[in-house]
Amino acid sequence: MAEPALIDIRNLTVGFRARSGALLPVLRNVDLQVCRGESLGIVGESGSGKSTLALAAMGFLKRGLQRMGGQVLFNGDDMFDRTRKQLEAIRGGQLGVVPQNSGQSLTPTLRIGTQMREALRLHCTLPEAEHEARVINLLSQVRLPDPSTIMQRYPHELSGGQQQRVAIAMALAGEPDALLLDEPTTGLDVTTQAHILELLRELARTRNMAMVYVSHDLGVIARVCEKVQVLYAGEVVLEGPTRHVLTDPLHPYARGLLASIPRLGETHLPVALDGRPPTPGKTGSGCAFAPRCVLANDQCRSKRPPLITSAHGEVTRCFYPEKTGQIATIGSGTDPVHHDACGDTALTLRDLSISYARSGLIERLFPPAVPTVPTVDGISIILAKGETLGLVGESGSGKSTILKSIAGLLPPSGGQILMGADTPLTPNVERRRPDQLRCIQMVFQNPDESLNPRQSVLEILSQPLRLYFNLRGRALQDRAVELLETVRLGSHYLDRRPEQLSGGEKQRVAVARAFAANPEIVLCDEITSALDVSVQAAVLELLNDLKKSMDTTYIFVSHDLTVVRALSDRVAVLYQGRICEVGPAAAVYGSPSHPYTDILLNAVLEPDPDVAPKLMAEDVVELAPPACGCPFQRRCPRKLDSVCETDTPPSQTGADGHVVRCHIPLNEL
């Protein structure tokens, strides 16, 4: 390399001291080089050590971690050998960082302006008098509207996207030579993520910085990085140009990871990676990935493979890179079971509306002059038996609210929920009949919250079994084992507690609990969003198998359009609690479609470096739907005129049976 690397990590090993006293490594012999103007992506699943690596590049280790060996050179000197003063000068100066969750990374008691000025005072040579102007300049560089107002705000008063922009502006305050980005768009809506990534691309282009981009999302990496490093169990297993790594990687793990990603254009289910990554210190003497690798042989299991450089500059930690081509990179797993919408009706939602604002004493005494707009409004959907309905939308679109209402946890303020075509369900769960309760089961987003931490798996599964089928003793246990087997967990899980299970296992138990009731309808609320992508694929596969064998009706809620795509027969797109578009999955994901659907689809980042996302008209978060007109009017890039503000858009039915609610005629969409 002509130019010396700006960040040069050599053979770094970082570990923590376990209770037993042994030092367990979380990063093993990691090498990393980034030059000015280069952007490197670090990819890995949770626990792979990617964030630790990024922070180590700043000479920072979290409490409890310690460096066991290796060097972290920045500009030629080891960060760990520097004095506190030197570190303080480099951090935030030559070396900037953008944290994962800016909402929590900005000090809540200090105004944005104060925090920005602090960064300037520490790292910028400008005279104090010019700081104000510089802050405004930086905030407008990250395209924040009205910077002088933003400066007066406290962090909690900004939306997630705005907080992230402030964090980027703050990192730029020191005119950094290198920028470390730790999952900078995780937790943001896809449309906001698209905006932020565009901004980062442009900054990289104009400032000639070195960028290290940490993410679990290969789509994000594809968008912003030239080079990728894949971490597995604290080791670099693969490094190479983004295009190669994303299309034809030479490591089995990377190929498996790619295959487990659901894609918009793919009608098959993604393929799950079996097994789980080793816990630190349990990697053994062989290849860390060997237990999950289809190619593994005795050599892989006993000897740690070295890094091998391939012909086109890819570096892989595998004994048999030439054989990896056998493993598919596109998930063409199981064919999803599909169902027509014309069978018997399982569930009917008739003009459902839900208001979150509960009326308290004060509201009852002094009713507000303007009636509040319901959070969710005008939801009418008829679900056929065995059908899967996907509900997609960004945060705040009311998709989970609808599920809670169907489950009886949140009484609607208007409209009806009917079992089948004509049996109305009481809004209140306490008044529903036992067989009605049994028919509808819900799986929650986060298994840590939805499984009682004080119960064993057996106790968790016995709750519905005892309640609905009055099972006791031996029969109950047999049924519980049977259920565990349907979700591919063995009977030895019976006496475990949730804390002893991995995220994917927990979610399987939650699924098993729902199916314990022999339900007709299962409500899935973002059930894969807390899981790693390879685990997510396994849960999707499981849901599909259950559907095949039990003919279950699903309502599948997700913010992730690709996840919904693979499983759903029909998809409804929600914005601000109103349906924009609903129809057969193929039709909704095809064109023409509602302007909002269009933007959502285009904001999806696929692990493909050649696709650029389309951007929304305005990157703001709306807190309440507009009182009248189209719910999407404020952000629509194709807004017509006053019609959109005053009239509720009409339902237009397309030839392929899908309904779009928009003022623009269907043939012009």
């Binding site: 922070l55 506190r84 303080e88 790292h123 406290y154 509960r358």
Partner: protein, 353 residues
């Protein structure tokens, strides 16, 4: 209970203020947490609490066997004398009327006469309140800054020897009964070393300076207990805040360590301490019965014990009401202060506009 301030009085307030969670029904029920309506609600709750306290006190005293007359007349309390006395003091009126009379009097600053019928309670209590305030001020002025300092140091050097020293010390100071620590201090400083008198013999209405240096030991005992509680709270708060993402971010921004501690960490760590300090103040002003008795200090607490021994019911009523009102008042002020200082509560509304 006697020497330790109530351990969880602050808990709910903390939640109500949104320091802990937003799921508190008090917040959701009033709809958007508008600052003014929140304050008004808090104020109204305080007044309701004081009213309920007054009813409890009145009913409690009512339920006791004997009344002001039996206490004054003692053995003569029978027959005509008793009847006449009751008539004179208006004790034969219905309970509701008597409660109303008493309450109206209290609102005008008139607590009635003490049971011996000779002294106005307002006058008697006045000096005692001042003396208790004096003691509290002495303990607070040293205790609060010291507690915050020690708690911060212990939190920053968590699990290091200095933290172990402070934390263990705090457990001792917190758990050793105050009459025990008072006894030990008297033994050392008054009896063995002879630096200060063991007890206060100054009369209640003496000028403040006359209590010096006798009151030093009493103040030290109170300070010890108080420091222990506040210190432990500050320590855990500092540890929590130092582990937050924003402190890590400040480190990665290159902010010097002490600047991080002072500008980023401490303001956030000390917000929840406000309510704890308020509880301590309320406790110091009202409940320090044992220490006042041990040192013979003429404050409200000792007066309360004396009144109980003498069955001086009007005085008991008066002191209890004063203490309860102080408790409610101080907590109210703390709540308002915490609200003012916490931007997350202060500016809850602006985002919606």
């Amino acid at each position: 209970m006697v020497h330790t301030p109530h351990p969880d009085k602050g808990l709910d307030e903390g939640i109500k203020l949104g320091l802990g969670s937003e799921s508190d029904p008090a917040l959701t029920r009033t709809g958007p947490a508008d600052m003014t309506s929140l304050l008004l609600r808090r104020l109204a709750l305080g007044l309701v609490t004081i009213w309920i306290v007054s009813v409890i006190i009145f009913l409690g005293v009512e339920a006791l066997p004997g009344d002001a007359c039996t206490a004054v007349l003692e053995r003569d309390a029978q027959g005509e004398v008793l009847a006449k006395c009751r008539d004179d003091l208006g004790l034969n009126a219905p309970a509701l009327t008597r409660y109303a009379d008493w309450a109206v009097g209290v609102l005008h600053g008139d607590f009635g006469m003490s049971a011996n019928g000779l002294q106005s309670i307002s006058e008697l209590v006045g000096y005692r309140v001042r003396n208790s305030l004096l003691l509290a001020a002495g303990a607070l002025s040293v205790g609060i800054p010291l507690a915050i300092f020690l708690g911060t140091v212990a939190g920053l050097w968590r699990d290091k020897p200095i933290d172990l020293l402070f934390s263990t010390g705090a457990i001792f100071a917190m758990t050793i009964p105050d009459f025990v620590s008072a006894t030990i201090l008297i033994l050392i400083f008054a009896i063995w070393l002879g630096w200060v008198p063991a007890i206060v013999i100054t009369p209640a209405d003496a000028p403040p300076l006359d209590f010096f240096p006798e009151f030093v030991l009493a103040a030290v005992v109170l300070t010890l207990v108080m420091i222990a509680h506040i210190m432990r709270m500050v320590r855990s708060s500092v540890i929590e805040v130092m582990a937050t993402d924003y402190v890590q971010m400040a480190t990665l921004k290159g902010v010097p360590y002490w600047r991080i501690v002072l500008t980023h960490a401490l303001p956030n760590a000390l917000l929840p301490a406000i309510n704890v300090i308020a509880l301590t103040i309320a406790w110091l002003l009202g409940g320090v019965v044992v220490v006042e008795v041990v040192f013979n200090y003429p404050g409200l607490g000792r007066m309360l014990v004396d009144a109980v021994s003498d069955r001086d019911l009007p005085v008991i009523q008066a002191i209890t009401l004063i203490v309860a009102a102080t408790y409610v008042g101080v907590n109210l002020v703390a709540d308002i202060l915490a609200m003012m200082l916490n931007p997350r509560l202060r500016t809850h509304q602006t985002r919606r506009q």
